[in-house]
Amino acid sequence: MENQILVDYLPLAVLLLIAVIIAVIIPVLSLNLGPKRPTARKQAPYESGMTPIGEAQRRFPVKFYRIAVLFILFDVDIILLVPWAVSFRELGYYGLVAMLIFMAVFIIGDVWVWKKGILEWE
């Protein structure tokens, strides 16, 4: 069994190796082919020609955070749904009813989120 898993994933490991080699070769090739004349102007951050004011990395709007939290909720839900979908045939009516009850609870949560205005963007 353990051996079978190794046989299954060996091609993936080989492909990963090749992908890493290719991804490293491209910039190395460019590094050797291109000129190297760095100047302070050239290396300044681009801001449409203005001199940058302050740091770029600062606090970000909370609405992006809300999207991330929503995504995690749905992702956890989906992780439950995927194995359910695979073994749907074997589970019979019990599986269907159980998932309908779970989804009802989940959808009630969604409706609450919607009514609460979490989905509004502003």
Partner: protein
């Protein structure tokens, strides 16, 4: 079995070369790793080379749609070598790392996104028996690997230390993360119908291509694939006119080229996945099966050709959409996802599950089951359209009322009938 050059060439043409080499080399330890290495090299080289063609195709088709000619100078009448020239130019550009950037995240991001886009191809079946590895969690693997690009975009945006780049990265992550939900949910429907996540099993389950069984799922998958690959109308993560180029603004030369490369490989992969999951992959009414049964040697080659035709047909639709639709605003994009696509996909998954378990479904054949599913899908589509129509009408009424109210206010203060005091003040 001994090695014969004629048999080798023959097996090369009917795509059974790996089986042939296994026969020649026998049962030795090094055989599988060497074959894997060759396969991985072939797939990666194919990806890198096909992008040259894809970029040319995209420029040419978009140009034709916009009534232009497109590339027509380098490499003959059709500009076939234009992209080769572009790649050479990008390669010979200077590699710049901005002074303010964080070195590791900034330089790791393009590497990661290229690695992720190459890794996805491992589970895509090109022809019967021609695929990297038939994982039992195939589609799950694809989704897992494709979400590496989210990490890469965050690294790029944050590492560049540039305001536009960071804004672009926030937008991209909000978009990619949001549209992953309808994408996985819509893929659940084929998984449920095939009872498996393996790409081969899903192809085998498609006596009727799934696009004719569950068209809504196919449509939602296509929309979220557009968003996941960041293509028009969901290209607001690069929105040139607002945030210049988004997360890859600070990247020049080949580092920019790598983001570009990954985008095109990703788009072609999504077309391939769509062709596999919804259009039946390499299947052509069972003709390709002759490789085993009827002894028709060219079955695999036929499967390969069929798969490529389907994949490029879907890819053409990607370009077509780009030539047709304008860009979304970010609030429209997120509302469309969370308030429309996600509820619709949840309803679709539950509906397909219920229909699949209807008492009379067990006694029906494959085709009539597909018919029942198609009917249920169309019904859901009609209901959705009706809800949308009512919503749109309500919104239009509100808009008209607002306009009428504004017109009433404006007509009271027209220059012609200003109050006497105001005229005196002039």
């Amino acid at each position: 079995m001994s090695f014969g050059i004629l048999e080798f060439l023959k097996s090369l043409i009917d795509l059974t070369v790996f089986d042939y080499m296994r026969g020649v080399w026998g049962d030795q330890r090094f055989v599988e790793p060497v074959l894997d290495l060759i396969g991985a090299l072939v797939v990666s080289t194919f990806c890198l080379l096909i992008v040259i063609f894809l970029i040319w195709l995209e420029r040419k088709v978009i140009a034709r749609m916009q009534d232009r000619i497109g590339p027509n100078r380098v490499g003959g009448k059709f500009g076939l070598l234009q992209t080769v020239a572009d790649v050479l130019k990008l390669l010979s550009k200077e590699m710049i790392t901005p002074a303010a950037a964080d070195w590791w995240p900034y330089n790791l991001a393009p590497l990661l996104i290229v690695i992720a886009s190459l890794l996805m191809w491992a589970v895509l079946p090109f022809a019967p028996g021609v695929l990297g590895v038939d994982l039992n969690i195939g589609l799950f693997y694809v989704l897992a690997v494709s979400s590496i690009s989210v990490v890469s975009l965050l690294l790029a945006g944050w590492g560049s230390n540039n305001k536009y780049a960071l804004l672009g990265a926030y937008r991209s992550i909000a978009q990619l993360v949001s549209y992953e939900v309808p994408m996985i949910l819509s893929l659940l429907v084929p998984i449920l119908l095939a009872s498996s996540m393996s790409t081969i099993d899903i192809i085998n389950a498609q006596t009727v291509p799934f696009i004719l069984v569950v068209p809504i799922s196919a449509l939602i998958f296509f929309i979220s694939a557009l968003a996941e690959t960041g293509r028009t109308p969901f290209d607001l993560l690069e929105a040139d006119s607002e945030i210049v180029a988004g997360f890859h603004i600070e990247y020049g030369g080949m580092k920019f080229g790598m983001f570009f490369l990954a985008e095109f490989i990703g788009t072609l992969f999504m077309s391939g996945l769509f062709a596999t999951v919804y259009l039946g992959g390499y299947r052509l009414f069972g003709l390709e099966e002759f490789v085993t049964g009827g002894g028709w040697a060219l079955g695999r080659l036929l499967g390969l050709v069929v798969f490529f035709i389907k994949m490029f047909a879907v890819y053409f639709v990607f370009i077509w959409v780009r030539g047709t639709l304008p860009r979304f605003r970010i609030d429209q994009m997120l509302n469309f996802n969370w308030k429309f696509l996600v509820p619709l996909t949840l309803a679709l998954v539950l509906m397909v599950a219920v229909v699949e378990k209807l008492p009379f479904m067990a006694s029906l054949g494959d085709v009539s089951r597909a018919g029942v599913h198609l009917f249920a899908n169309l019904l859901l589509g009609l209901v959705t359209l009706e809800i949308l129509r009512r919503f749109a009408r309500k919104q239009r009424m509100a808009q008209e009322e607002k306009l009428a109210a504004r017109a009433a206010v404006n007509s009271g203060s027209e220059p012609g009938n200003l109050a006497p005091e105001a005229v005196a003040a002039h």
